[in-house]
Symmetry: C2
Subunit: 128 residues, 2 copies
DNA sequence: GTTCACTATATACAACATGAAACTAGTGAT
DNA sequence: ATCACTAGTTTCATGTTGTATATAGTGAAC
């Protein structure tokens, strides 16, 4: 069982903050970047100051590097500490594509729940 | 900081399977039900056979009872083992309403990500 | 010249959530 | 007797989180 688990990327959990992982992959799909720079793009996806935990973000970056979704090198900035600049790999791009499919589904399921909450009449015929 | 954390229900994480919690609250908002019965309604929200872990579901039911979002009583079914029948509380209804707001936001953020993946041109002007 | 704010990354810790598996147990059909 | 279905619980290893803490470079204000 669970052989149709393509819906689960890597057969792992899908905690919400996996969404952060996908956001990072998307941003790195657009262009190479480093942690601090990425953190400034994240409010676009709803991770505003209060909601972004930078520890979590840096941890995710290290984790997805370990599983070869991204690669990194150190670069001198001249205007502050060194930056670890990340680059998405082919494997990372494939992972991103799979996540897009999952997220489309997730969005639909959320919509279903909202509809059912706001228009209960459409589902009442199930009552006995 | 984090005082505007009404966006985080009970200040806790929002792992994806919290979505399962909200589905259960919604179903119990519609009518009283027991675990096994609820499990048969869950495919509607995307929790098909392969994707629903019944341990998780039963665990969530016990957890949300502990924090008074639902109450339960044992009932004889006559056609099998006893059933623990759950009923949503006022607190549970309030929690459900808060979650609906969160999920509407989550849906929007997912949509933003999908759009940005599929129509990168609209975001390219950011490049240097 | 030192304090402050900003830039930049990393790690340790306790708390919590998960999937998988095993377990108990009642009913009814083969 | 065995099987399939109904019904719920607990244990275990693994994984993820937020918080706090640490380090360190730059440049401006005082």
């Amino acid at each position: 069982m669970k052989e149709n688990s393509s819906i689960f990327c890597q057969n792992k959990n899908q905690p919400t903050e996996r969404f952060l992982e996908v956001c990072l992959l998307l941003l790195l799909h657009e262009k190479d970047d480093y942690g601090y720079g990425l953190s400034q793009e994240l409010p676009f996806f709803g991770f505003s100051d209060n909601e972004l935990n930078v520890s979590t973000m840096y941890r995710i970056l290290r984790r997805i590097e370990k599983i070869d979704l991204v690669e990194s090198t150190w670069e001198e900035s001249g205007l502050g500490p060194r930056r670890r600049v990340y680059r998405i790999t082919e494997k990372g791009k494939e992972e991103l594509s799979k996540w897009i499919v999952i997220l489309k589904n997730r969005k639909l399921n959320i919509q279903k729940l909202i509809d059912r909450f706001e228009r209960p009449d459409h589902y009442n015929h199930l009552e006995e």
